[in-house]
Symmetry: C2
Subunit: 208 residues, 2 copies
Amino acid sequence: MAKDKMSEGNIRQKNKALILNAAKKEFVTYGFKGASIKRIAERANIARANIHYYFKDKTDLYQQLLSNIIEVWNTDYDTLNADHEPKAALSAYIRSKVMHSKNDPDASRIFASELIHGAPVLNEYLNSDFKVWLNNKVAVIEAWISQGLIDNVNPHHLLFLIWSSTQHYADFNVQVVAALNKDAMNDDDFEEVVASLTQIILKGCGIR
Amino acid sequence: MAKDKMSEGNIRQKNKALILNAAKKEFVTYGFKGASIKRIAERANIARANIHYYFKDKTDLYQQLLSNIIEVWNTDYDTLNADHEPKAALSAYIRSKVMHSKNDPDASRIFASELIHGAPVLNEYLNSDFKVWLNNKVAVIEAWISQGLIDNVNPHHLLFLIWSSTQHYADFNVQVVAALNKDAMNDDDFEEVVASLTQIILKGCGIR
DNA sequence: GTCTATAGTTAGATAGAC
DNA sequence: GTCTATCTAACTATAGAC
Protein backbone atom coordinates (compact mmCIF):
# COMPACT_ATOMS: atom_id res chain seq x y z
CA MET A 1 0.00 0.00 0.00
CA ALA A 2 2.83 2.36 0.88
CA LYS A 3 4.46 0.96 -2.20
CA ASP A 4 1.47 1.92 -4.34
CA LYS A 5 1.66 5.45 -3.07
CA MET A 6 5.39 5.63 -3.65
CA SER A 7 5.06 4.42 -7.22
CA GLU A 8 2.59 7.18 -8.04
CA GLY A 9 4.01 10.26 -9.71
CA ASN A 10 4.55 13.36 -7.64
CA ILE A 11 1.90 15.41 -9.38
CA ARG A 12 -0.62 12.62 -9.09
CA GLN A 13 0.13 12.14 -5.40
CA LYS A 14 -0.12 15.83 -4.65
CA ASN A 15 -3.34 16.36 -6.60
CA LYS A 16 -4.99 13.33 -5.05
CA ALA A 17 -4.19 14.71 -1.61
CA LEU A 18 -5.61 18.11 -2.60
CA ILE A 19 -8.80 16.51 -3.86
CA LEU A 20 -9.22 14.23 -0.84
CA ASN A 21 -8.82 17.19 1.46
CA ALA A 22 -11.39 19.22 -0.41
CA ALA A 23 -13.70 16.21 -0.52
CA LYS A 24 -13.52 15.83 3.25
CA LYS A 25 -14.95 19.30 3.79
CA GLU A 26 -17.55 18.80 1.07
CA PHE A 27 -18.78 15.42 2.29
CA VAL A 28 -18.97 16.61 5.88
CA THR A 29 -20.99 19.64 4.89
CA TYR A 30 -23.46 18.10 2.44
CA GLY A 31 -23.34 14.33 3.02
CA PHE A 32 -22.45 11.77 0.37
CA LYS A 33 -25.23 12.43 -2.08
CA GLY A 34 -25.30 16.18 -1.42
CA ALA A 35 -21.60 16.56 -2.10
CA SER A 36 -20.95 17.90 -5.58
CA ILE A 37 -17.86 17.15 -7.64
CA LYS A 38 -18.09 20.66 -9.06
CA ARG A 39 -17.68 22.18 -5.59
CA ILE A 40 -14.93 19.71 -4.65
CA ALA A 41 -13.08 20.83 -7.79
CA GLU A 42 -13.53 24.47 -6.82
CA ARG A 43 -12.34 23.84 -3.26
CA ALA A 44 -9.27 22.02 -4.58
CA ASN A 45 -8.66 24.51 -7.41
CA ILE A 46 -8.66 21.73 -9.95
CA ALA A 47 -10.74 21.46 -13.11
CA ARG A 48 -13.86 19.41 -12.63
CA ALA A 49 -13.05 16.76 -15.22
CA ASN A 50 -9.71 16.12 -13.56
CA ILE A 51 -11.45 14.77 -10.49
CA HIS A 52 -12.63 11.99 -12.78
CA TYR A 53 -9.13 11.54 -14.06
CA TYR A 54 -7.84 10.81 -10.55
CA PHE A 55 -10.86 8.97 -9.17
CA LYS A 56 -13.05 6.49 -10.98
CA ASP A 57 -16.24 8.02 -9.64
CA LYS A 58 -17.76 9.73 -6.62
CA THR A 59 -18.03 6.48 -4.68
CA ASP A 60 -14.36 5.69 -5.29
CA LEU A 61 -13.40 9.12 -3.96
CA TYR A 62 -15.53 8.60 -0.86
CA GLN A 63 -14.11 5.13 -0.24
CA GLN A 64 -10.51 6.31 -0.46
CA LEU A 65 -11.33 9.14 1.94
CA LEU A 66 -12.75 6.67 4.46
CA SER A 67 -9.75 4.38 4.02
CA ASN A 68 -7.40 7.23 4.89
CA ILE A 69 -9.39 8.04 8.01
CA ILE A 70 -9.43 4.44 9.22
CA GLU A 71 -5.73 4.07 8.55
CA VAL A 72 -4.93 7.02 10.79
CA TRP A 73 -7.19 5.68 13.54
CA ASN A 74 -5.69 2.22 13.50
CA THR A 75 -2.15 3.49 13.83
CA ASP A 76 -2.91 6.31 16.26
CA TYR A 77 -4.60 4.65 19.16
CA ASP A 78 -2.55 1.96 20.69
CA THR A 79 -2.11 3.25 24.20
CA LEU A 80 -4.57 0.60 25.35
CA ASN A 81 -2.27 -2.36 25.82
CA ALA A 82 -1.50 -4.75 28.62
CA ASP A 83 1.97 -3.29 29.25
CA HIS A 84 0.49 -0.22 30.88
CA GLU A 85 -1.36 0.29 34.12
CA PRO A 86 -5.06 0.98 33.62
CA LYS A 87 -4.82 4.47 35.11
CA ALA A 88 -2.09 5.64 32.75
CA ALA A 89 -3.44 3.73 29.77
CA LEU A 90 -7.04 4.91 30.07
CA SER A 91 -6.01 8.50 30.80
CA ALA A 92 -3.78 8.56 27.72
CA TYR A 93 -6.47 6.95 25.59
CA ILE A 94 -9.13 9.45 26.64
CA ARG A 95 -6.75 12.33 26.03
CA SER A 96 -5.69 11.16 22.59
CA LYS A 97 -9.31 10.58 21.55
CA VAL A 98 -10.37 14.04 22.73
CA MET A 99 -7.39 15.65 21.01
CA HIS A 100 -8.29 13.87 17.81
CA SER A 101 -11.79 15.36 18.07
CA LYS A 102 -10.12 18.73 18.46
CA ASN A 103 -7.55 18.39 15.70
CA ASP A 104 -9.47 16.52 13.02
CA PRO A 105 -13.19 16.79 13.76
CA ASP A 106 -14.17 16.29 10.12
CA ALA A 107 -12.62 12.83 10.07
CA SER A 108 -14.74 11.87 13.06
CA ARG A 109 -17.84 13.37 11.46
CA ILE A 110 -17.44 11.54 8.18
CA PHE A 111 -16.94 8.26 10.02
CA ALA A 112 -20.00 9.00 12.18
CA SER A 113 -22.16 9.93 9.22
CA GLU A 114 -21.15 6.73 7.44
CA LEU A 115 -22.17 4.61 10.45
CA ILE A 116 -25.40 6.51 11.11
CA HIS A 117 -26.53 5.86 7.57
CA GLY A 118 -25.90 2.15 7.97
CA ALA A 119 -22.21 1.87 6.98
CA PRO A 120 -22.85 0.96 3.31
CA VAL A 121 -19.12 1.27 2.60
CA LEU A 122 -17.62 0.30 5.97
CA ASN A 123 -19.68 -2.79 6.67
CA GLU A 124 -16.91 -5.04 5.43
CA TYR A 125 -14.33 -3.30 7.62
CA LEU A 126 -16.59 -3.53 10.69
CA ASN A 127 -16.82 -7.29 10.25
CA SER A 128 -13.12 -7.90 9.67
CA ASP A 129 -10.20 -5.69 10.77
CA PHE A 130 -12.32 -3.82 13.30
CA LYS A 131 -13.26 -6.98 15.17
CA VAL A 132 -9.65 -8.10 15.45
CA TRP A 133 -8.55 -4.71 16.75
CA LEU A 134 -11.46 -4.59 19.19
CA ASN A 135 -10.85 -8.08 20.57
CA ASN A 136 -7.33 -7.02 21.51
CA LYS A 137 -8.63 -4.06 23.49
CA VAL A 138 -11.32 -6.14 25.18
CA ALA A 139 -8.69 -8.67 26.21
CA VAL A 140 -6.59 -5.92 27.81
CA ILE A 141 -9.53 -4.73 29.88
CA GLU A 142 -10.45 -8.27 30.88
CA ALA A 143 -6.90 -8.81 32.07
CA TRP A 144 -7.08 -5.69 34.23
CA ILE A 145 -10.33 -6.94 35.73
CA SER A 146 -9.04 -10.40 36.51
CA GLN A 147 -5.96 -8.84 38.13
CA GLY A 148 -8.24 -6.74 40.29
CA LEU A 149 -6.83 -3.49 38.89
CA ILE A 150 -10.26 -2.16 37.91
CA ASP A 151 -13.87 -2.94 38.78
CA ASN A 152 -15.76 -5.68 36.99
CA VAL A 153 -17.13 -3.50 34.18
CA ASN A 154 -18.36 -4.73 30.81
CA PRO A 155 -15.33 -4.18 28.54
CA HIS A 156 -17.36 -3.55 25.39
CA HIS A 157 -19.58 -0.97 27.03
CA LEU A 158 -16.61 0.75 28.65
CA LEU A 159 -15.02 1.13 25.22
CA PHE A 160 -18.27 2.38 23.69
CA LEU A 161 -18.54 4.89 26.53
CA ILE A 162 -15.06 6.24 25.86
CA TRP A 163 -15.55 6.40 22.10
CA SER A 164 -18.93 8.09 22.26
CA SER A 165 -18.08 10.62 24.94
CA THR A 166 -14.84 11.71 23.27
CA GLN A 167 -16.11 11.76 19.69
CA HIS A 168 -19.10 13.77 20.87
CA TYR A 169 -16.97 16.93 20.90
CA ALA A 170 -16.29 16.53 17.18
CA ASP A 171 -19.58 15.13 15.93
CA PHE A 172 -21.91 17.28 18.04
CA ASN A 173 -19.64 20.30 18.29
CA VAL A 174 -22.36 22.65 17.13
CA GLN A 175 -24.55 21.57 20.06
CA VAL A 176 -21.66 21.71 22.52
CA VAL A 177 -20.68 25.28 21.65
CA ALA A 178 -24.33 26.34 21.89
CA ALA A 179 -24.55 24.72 25.32
CA LEU A 180 -21.35 26.34 26.50
CA ASN A 181 -22.37 29.73 25.07
CA LYS A 182 -19.24 29.95 22.96
CA ASP A 183 -18.38 30.67 19.35
CA ALA A 184 -15.90 27.82 19.38
CA MET A 185 -14.07 25.63 21.87
CA ASN A 186 -10.54 26.75 22.76
CA ASP A 187 -7.55 24.85 24.17
CA ASP A 188 -8.71 25.30 27.75
CA ASP A 189 -12.16 23.98 26.91
CA PHE A 190 -10.66 20.78 25.54
CA GLU A 191 -8.45 20.41 28.61
CA GLU A 192 -11.58 20.71 30.74
CA VAL A 193 -13.17 17.95 28.66
CA VAL A 194 -10.18 15.67 29.20
CA ALA A 195 -10.21 16.40 32.93
CA SER A 196 -13.96 15.85 33.31
CA LEU A 197 -14.12 12.62 31.31
CA THR A 198 -11.01 11.21 32.97
CA GLN A 199 -12.38 12.05 36.42
CA ILE A 200 -15.74 10.36 35.90
CA ILE A 201 -14.66 7.36 33.84
CA LEU A 202 -11.63 6.39 35.94
CA LYS A 203 -13.49 6.71 39.21
CA GLY A 204 -16.42 4.90 37.58
CA CYS A 205 -14.11 1.96 36.93
CA GLY A 206 -12.85 2.00 40.50
CA ILE A 207 -9.42 3.40 39.65
CA ARG A 208 -7.96 5.60 42.35
CA MET B 1 -49.86 23.77 17.88
CA ALA B 2 -52.12 21.01 19.16
CA LYS B 3 -54.93 23.26 17.99
CA ASP B 4 -53.50 23.40 14.48
CA LYS B 5 -53.34 19.65 14.36
CA MET B 6 -56.90 19.32 15.62
CA SER B 7 -58.18 21.75 13.02
CA GLU B 8 -56.68 19.68 10.20
CA GLY B 9 -59.00 17.25 8.44
CA ASN B 10 -58.76 13.59 9.29
CA ILE B 11 -57.45 12.52 5.90
CA ARG B 12 -54.89 15.27 5.89
CA GLN B 13 -53.73 14.38 9.39
CA LYS B 14 -53.47 10.70 8.60
CA ASN B 15 -51.64 11.20 5.30
CA LYS B 16 -49.18 13.66 6.80
CA ALA B 17 -48.36 11.11 9.49
CA LEU B 18 -47.89 8.41 6.84
CA ILE B 19 -45.58 10.65 4.83
CA LEU B 20 -43.56 11.78 7.87
CA ASN B 21 -43.06 8.19 8.89
CA ALA B 22 -41.89 7.17 5.44
CA ALA B 23 -39.67 10.23 5.27
CA LYS B 24 -38.00 9.30 8.54
CA LYS B 25 -36.78 5.98 7.10
CA GLU B 26 -35.79 7.62 3.84
CA PHE B 27 -33.82 10.49 5.39
CA VAL B 28 -32.03 8.17 7.79
CA THR B 29 -31.02 5.85 4.97
CA TYR B 30 -29.91 8.37 2.35
CA GLY B 31 -29.40 11.69 4.16
CA PHE B 32 -31.22 14.90 3.34
CA LYS B 33 -30.04 15.38 -0.21
CA GLY B 34 -29.99 11.68 -1.00
CA ALA B 35 -33.57 11.18 0.12
CA SER B 36 -35.92 11.05 -2.84
CA ILE B 37 -39.54 12.20 -2.77
CA LYS B 38 -40.30 9.43 -5.24
CA ARG B 39 -39.15 6.78 -2.77
CA ILE B 40 -40.89 8.50 0.15
CA ALA B 41 -44.10 8.37 -1.87
CA GLU B 42 -43.55 4.68 -2.57
CA ARG B 43 -42.84 3.92 1.11
CA ALA B 44 -46.00 5.79 2.12
CA ASN B 45 -48.09 4.37 -0.73
CA ILE B 46 -49.07 7.84 -1.83
CA ALA B 47 -48.73 9.40 -5.28
CA ARG B 48 -45.60 11.46 -5.66
CA ALA B 49 -47.36 14.72 -6.45
CA ASN B 50 -49.39 14.42 -3.26
CA ILE B 51 -46.28 14.80 -1.15
CA HIS B 52 -46.10 18.29 -2.62
CA TYR B 53 -49.75 18.81 -1.83
CA TYR B 54 -49.11 18.18 1.89
CA PHE B 55 -45.66 19.69 2.19
CA LYS B 56 -44.42 22.86 0.54
CA ASP B 57 -41.12 21.28 -0.46
CA LYS B 58 -38.50 18.78 0.66
CA THR B 59 -37.05 21.18 3.22
CA ASP B 60 -40.46 21.77 4.75
CA LEU B 61 -40.96 18.01 5.10
CA TYR B 62 -37.57 17.65 6.76
CA GLN B 63 -38.21 20.55 9.13
CA GLN B 64 -41.54 19.17 10.28
CA LEU B 65 -39.92 15.80 10.86
CA LEU B 66 -37.25 17.38 13.04
CA SER B 67 -39.88 19.40 14.91
CA ASN B 68 -41.74 16.21 15.78
CA ILE B 69 -38.57 14.59 17.06
CA ILE B 70 -37.64 17.56 19.23
CA GLU B 71 -41.17 17.78 20.61
CA VAL B 72 -41.02 14.17 21.81
CA TRP B 73 -37.61 14.72 23.39
CA ASN B 74 -38.65 17.84 25.23
CA THR B 75 -41.69 16.21 26.77
CA ASP B 76 -40.12 12.82 27.41
CA TYR B 77 -37.10 13.55 29.50
CA ASP B 78 -37.92 15.39 32.65
CA THR B 79 -36.70 12.95 35.24
CA LEU B 80 -33.77 15.27 35.86
CA ASN B 81 -35.30 17.68 38.35
CA ALA B 82 -34.41 18.90 41.81
CA ASP B 83 -37.26 17.01 43.48
CA HIS B 84 -35.44 13.72 43.06
CA GLU B 85 -32.33 12.33 44.61
CA PRO B 86 -29.39 12.15 42.19
CA LYS B 87 -29.19 8.36 42.33
CA ALA B 88 -32.82 7.81 41.35
CA ALA B 89 -32.91 10.73 38.92
CA LEU B 90 -29.72 9.85 37.03
CA SER B 91 -30.61 6.14 36.91
CA ALA B 92 -34.03 6.93 35.48
CA TYR B 93 -32.55 9.41 33.00
CA ILE B 94 -29.95 6.96 31.72
CA ARG B 95 -32.58 4.25 31.41
CA SER B 96 -35.05 6.42 29.52
CA LYS B 97 -32.34 7.63 27.14
CA VAL B 98 -31.17 4.08 26.41
CA MET B 99 -34.74 2.90 25.90
CA HIS B 100 -35.34 5.72 23.48
CA SER B 101 -32.30 4.57 21.51
CA LYS B 102 -33.86 1.12 21.49
CA ASN B 103 -37.41 2.14 20.61
CA ASP B 104 -36.86 4.97 18.15
CA PRO B 105 -33.30 4.81 16.86
CA ASP B 106 -34.15 6.59 13.63
CA ALA B 107 -35.20 9.71 15.50
CA SER B 108 -31.84 9.78 17.22
CA ARG B 109 -30.03 9.21 13.94
CA ILE B 110 -31.80 12.00 12.11
CA PHE B 111 -31.03 14.39 14.93
CA ALA B 112 -27.41 13.25 14.95
CA SER B 113 -27.04 13.58 11.20
CA GLU B 114 -28.48 17.08 11.34
CA LEU B 115 -25.95 18.14 14.00
CA ILE B 116 -22.99 16.43 12.34
CA HIS B 117 -23.66 18.35 9.15
CA GLY B 118 -23.69 21.62 11.03
CA ALA B 119 -27.34 21.88 12.10
CA PRO B 120 -28.47 24.03 9.14
CA VAL B 121 -32.09 23.65 10.26
CA LEU B 122 -31.68 23.28 14.03
CA ASN B 123 -29.26 26.14 14.63
CA GLU B 124 -32.07 28.40 15.74
CA TYR B 125 -33.42 25.80 18.17
CA LEU B 126 -29.96 25.19 19.64
CA ASN B 127 -29.63 28.87 20.44
CA SER B 128 -33.09 29.32 21.96
CA ASP B 129 -35.29 26.61 23.52
CA PHE B 130 -32.41 24.18 23.91
CA LYS B 131 -30.39 26.61 26.02
CA VAL B 132 -33.32 27.24 28.38
CA TRP B 133 -33.94 23.52 28.81
CA LEU B 134 -30.24 22.84 29.34
CA ASN B 135 -29.79 25.58 31.93
CA ASN B 136 -32.49 23.95 34.03
CA LYS B 137 -30.68 20.63 33.99
CA VAL B 138 -27.34 22.24 34.77
CA ALA B 139 -28.91 24.03 37.74
CA VAL B 140 -30.22 20.74 39.10
CA ILE B 141 -26.76 19.17 38.95
CA GLU B 142 -25.16 22.23 40.53
CA ALA B 143 -27.65 22.02 43.38
CA TRP B 144 -26.72 18.38 43.98
CA ILE B 145 -23.06 19.32 44.05
CA SER B 146 -23.49 22.20 46.49
CA GLN B 147 -25.54 19.91 48.74
CA GLY B 148 -22.69 17.41 48.69
CA LEU B 149 -24.89 14.73 47.13
CA ILE B 150 -22.52 14.11 44.23
CA ASP B 151 -18.88 14.88 43.44
CA ASN B 152 -17.82 18.20 42.02
CA VAL B 153 -18.19 17.25 38.35
CA ASN B 154 -18.61 19.65 35.46
CA PRO B 155 -22.40 19.62 34.88
CA HIS B 156 -22.22 20.27 31.14
CA HIS B 157 -19.73 17.51 30.53
CA LEU B 158 -21.69 15.09 32.68
CA LEU B 159 -24.76 15.75 30.55
CA PHE B 160 -22.79 15.39 27.31
CA LEU B 161 -21.41 12.10 28.64
CA ILE B 162 -24.88 10.76 29.31
CA TRP B 163 -26.28 11.92 25.98
CA SER B 164 -23.41 10.61 23.91
CA SER B 165 -23.08 7.25 25.64
CA THR B 166 -26.81 6.49 25.48
CA GLN B 167 -27.44 7.78 21.95
CA HIS B 168 -24.45 5.77 20.79
CA TYR B 169 -26.57 2.60 20.77
CA ALA B 170 -28.92 4.17 18.23
CA ASP B 171 -26.53 6.21 16.09
CA PHE B 172 -23.67 3.69 15.94
CA ASN B 173 -25.79 0.58 16.23
CA VAL B 174 -24.20 -1.00 13.19
CA GLN B 175 -20.78 -0.79 14.86
CA VAL B 176 -22.13 -2.01 18.20
CA VAL B 177 -23.71 -5.14 16.76
CA ALA B 178 -20.52 -5.89 14.83
CA ALA B 179 -18.52 -5.51 18.04
CA LEU B 180 -20.91 -7.72 20.01
CA ASN B 181 -21.00 -10.33 17.20
CA LYS B 182 -24.77 -10.10 16.93
CA ASP B 183 -27.31 -9.63 14.19
CA ALA B 184 -29.22 -7.18 16.37
CA MET B 185 -29.41 -6.14 20.00
CA ASN B 186 -32.16 -7.78 22.03
CA ASP B 187 -33.93 -6.76 25.26
CA ASP B 188 -31.23 -8.29 27.46
CA ASP B 189 -28.51 -6.48 25.56
CA PHE B 190 -30.16 -3.16 26.25
CA GLU B 191 -30.59 -4.04 29.93
CA GLU B 192 -26.87 -4.77 30.04
CA VAL B 193 -26.23 -1.34 28.53
CA VAL B 194 -28.38 0.34 31.18
CA ALA B 195 -26.62 -1.58 33.94
CA SER B 196 -23.11 -0.85 32.62
CA LEU B 197 -23.64 2.84 32.01
CA THR B 198 -25.42 3.31 35.33
CA GLN B 199 -22.67 1.49 37.18
CA ILE B 200 -19.83 3.55 35.71
CA ILE B 201 -21.48 6.97 35.59
CA LEU B 202 -23.02 6.90 39.07
CA LYS B 203 -19.86 5.66 40.71
CA GLY B 204 -17.93 8.17 38.61
CA CYS B 205 -20.00 10.94 40.19
CA GLY B 206 -19.38 9.56 43.68
CA ILE B 207 -22.91 8.23 44.14
CA ARG B 208 -23.09 5.09 46.28
C1' DG C 1 -1.87 15.71 -17.45
C1' DT C 2 -5.50 19.52 -18.47
C1' DC C 3 -9.70 21.49 -20.07
C1' DT C 4 -14.01 22.37 -22.93
C1' DA C 5 -18.19 20.63 -24.46
C1' DT C 6 -21.80 17.73 -24.00
C1' DA C 7 -24.32 13.47 -23.36
C1' DG C 8 -27.35 11.24 -20.29
C1' DT C 9 -29.73 10.72 -16.03
C1' DT C 10 -32.32 11.87 -12.06
C1' DA C 11 -35.17 14.38 -9.22
C1' DG C 12 -37.82 18.49 -7.39
C1' DA C 13 -41.65 20.98 -8.42
C1' DT C 14 -45.99 22.57 -10.81
C1' DA C 15 -50.13 22.70 -13.92
C1' DG C 16 -54.36 21.09 -14.75
C1' DA C 17 -57.75 17.35 -15.56
C1' DC C 18 -60.57 14.41 -12.69
C1' DG D 1 -58.03 15.35 -2.28
C1' DT D 2 -55.73 12.54 -6.27
C1' DC D 3 -53.06 11.65 -10.30
C1' DT D 4 -50.84 12.23 -15.01
C1' DA D 5 -47.91 14.85 -17.68
C1' DT D 6 -44.37 17.94 -18.01
C1' DC D 7 -41.03 21.62 -17.05
C1' DT D 8 -36.66 22.79 -15.25
C1' DA D 9 -32.44 22.42 -12.85
C1' DA D 10 -28.46 20.02 -11.24
C1' DC D 11 -25.07 16.91 -11.50
C1' DT D 12 -22.22 12.71 -12.87
C1' DA D 13 -19.51 11.09 -16.29
C1' DT D 14 -17.21 10.83 -20.75
C1' DA D 15 -15.31 12.09 -25.30
C1' DG D 16 -11.90 14.36 -27.53
C1' DA D 17 -8.95 18.50 -28.54
C1' DC D 18 -4.76 20.51 -26.68
